[in-house]
């Protein structure tokens, strides 16, 4: 791949900065999706009807009649999948570049002050996030894993209530959301910086405050329904 005949423009197009920009844009799309998803889940508190209707609406009717019934969800899934694939592809290529960048010999002593834990676990955290995502999809999208109900896919509300009446499913989701929260904490700030929004010391503060806010919102918003179900506060 590393051909010497690439023009400067072509090399710039393949640079680490462009890969980071791709990660930033796809990451922000995924964060936007998560925020929407989190908000939608809160409908569990209104009741079975509201929740099931909402789930049904997402699958069939959104953007209808512009799109034929049932199309939207597949376009939506395709977009998310493309984002995820691009995001992870760039993450892996940049990871390899980092391994080369660090060099073979490690520091005997490291004393780093600026880094946050979130920023240093983006890669392993990302992998954990991915595995938990697969678990999530196998449960609620494909109905392969069915804790608390039987027979594949059933009404969304019943799956939700069934799954989160198991303490261990709730525990897995607590871990899942802490990982997401940490990834978004650094990712949100990093994405905007990669896209050039860090224009000064104040912008850095603002972006970081927003990052904490988005991360905390996702953590609390996503965990409220499962915890409430576990403690029997939803009926």
């Amino acid at each position: 791949m590393a051909s010497t005949t690439l023009s400067v423009h072509q090399k710039a197009l393949r640079s680490t900065v462009v890969k980071k920009a791709v990660m930033a844009v796809t990451g922000l799309v995924l964060i936007a999706f998560l925020l929407m998803h989190m908000f939608g889940n809160l409908k569990i508190f209104i009741g079975p009807e509201a929740y099931n209707d909402y789930a049904e609406f997402l699958k069939q009717d959104l953007l209808a009649p512009i799109l034929p019934h049932g199309w939207f969800i597949w376009i939506f899934r395709a977009v998310l999948l493309v984002c995820l694939v691009l995001h992870v592809y760039c993450a892996i290529v940049l990871w390899l570049a980092s391994v080369e960048g660090r060099g073979k010999t490690k520091y005997v002593r490291k004393n780093r002050k600026e880094q946050t834990i979130s920023s240093r676990v983006m890669r392993w955290g990302g992998i954990t996030l991915f595995l938990l995502l697969v678990f999530h999809i196998m449960m609620f999208t494909t109905g392969t894993i069915t804790p608390g109900w039987s027979g594949g896919l059933i009404e969304p509300y019943d799956m939700f209530m069934g799954a989160f009446s198991n303490w261990w499913v709730v525990l897995i989701y607590v871990v899942f959301m802490v990982v997401v929260c940490m990834h978004v904490r650094h990712g949100f700030w990093s994405a905007f910086t990669t896209l050039g929004a860090n224009v000064g010391a104040q912008a850095r503060v603002v972006l970081n405050v927003l990052a904490y806010f988005a991360a905390a919102l996702l953590l609390v918003g996503f965990l409220l329904p499962p915890v409430a179900v576990l403690f029997g506060m939803v009926n």
Binding site: S7, V8, H9, K11, A12, L13, S15, T16, V17, V18, K19, K20, A21, L94, A97, S98, V99, E100, G101, R102, G103, K104, T105, K106, Y107, V108, R109, K110, N111, R112, K113, E114, Q115, T116, S119, R120, M122, H186, W189, S190, T193, T194, L195, G196, A197, N198, V199, G200, A201, A203, R204
Partner: protein, 255 residues
């Protein structure tokens, strides 16, 4: 004061080295860190041990030659109350009986030549790719004929204070040279003289950065926190803006 030094020793041409321990008994607090190393070397020479190789030149914080990792931070930044180069770090920041660990910059792009001396020509190759402006030689043009707005001039000047020591790379968990590269890009992008080659410059410099074994940036911020010249982290955002914008605009036939 008494200082115990643990120093990375690596023979020339060897891929591996190890930490060796030396004892200094009468270090004065007025000594600079490099004077303390000079003292060590005199002692080692007297004992018939090969002196420790380290880089230095101006010893007044302006040339960028010196640079070692002291107790885990480049230029001993975390031992010092102010941003500093190794040559401007003084022994008054240490205490009697301290153990001080000294290592070379460690990064894929900076192979160790010997002991604490690393090869930093990768930084020169980034500059050679575009960190300049092309002007014909001859008499200097009248400076007032190209006014530079104050804010941009200040930004350019701040970025131009980069001495190319490489501490940013040494501090980066990814071994990225993005702060260095962005300082050069920010410097020229804010001056009228830098405009004609602005787009091509940023593309060429990033290409050279990536080709020379530096890692990508993760916006962690370690680099700016150890920079002796306080090049701000937002320089990297300026580089990103310029690079992304440059991809969408034609810039001569060859770009």
């Amino acid at each position: 004061m008494k200082i115990t030094l643990k120093v990375w020793r690596q023979a020339e041409g060897e891929a591996q080295g190890s930490m060796e321990t030396y004892q200094l008994d009468s270090v004065a607090e007025e000594m600079s860190f490099l004077e303390m190393l000079d003292m060590l070397n005199e002692q080692l020479t007297a004992q018939d041990i090969e002196p420790v190789a380290f880089d230095s030149d101006c010893r007044e914080g302006i040339c960028g030659m010196c640079g070692i990792v002291i107790n885990g931070s480049p230029h001993g930044r975390y031992e010092s109350p102010v941003p500093t180069t190794t040559c401007q770090l003084h022994m008054r920041n240490f205490h009697d009986g301290d153990v001080v660990e000294i290592e070379p910059w460690r990064a894929g792009a900076f192979p160790v030549i010997k002991d604490l001396v690393v090869d930093r020509t990768a930084l020169d190759r980034i500059v050679a790719a575009g960190g300049y402006i092309s002007v014909n030689t001859g008499s200097a043009p009248e400076a007032h004929s190209t006014p530079a707005p104050k804010l941009q001039a200040d930004r350019a000047f701040d970025a131009a204070t980069c001495i190319g020591c490489g501490a940013c790379v040494a501090a980066c968990p990814n071994g990225s040279g993005m702060l260095f590269t962005s300082a050069k890009v920010t410097h020229l992008a804010n001056l009228p003289q830098g405009q004609p080659e602005r787009r091509r410059r940023v593309k060429a410099m990033i290409a050279a950065h990536d080709a020379n074994g530096f890692g990508g940036c993760q916006n962690i911020g370690e680099c700016a926190s150890v920079c002796p010249k306080q090049i701000p982290l937002e320089s990297i955002a300026q580089l990103n803006r310029d690079l992304i914008a440059s991809l969408f605009r034609a810039d001569g036939k060859s770009a």
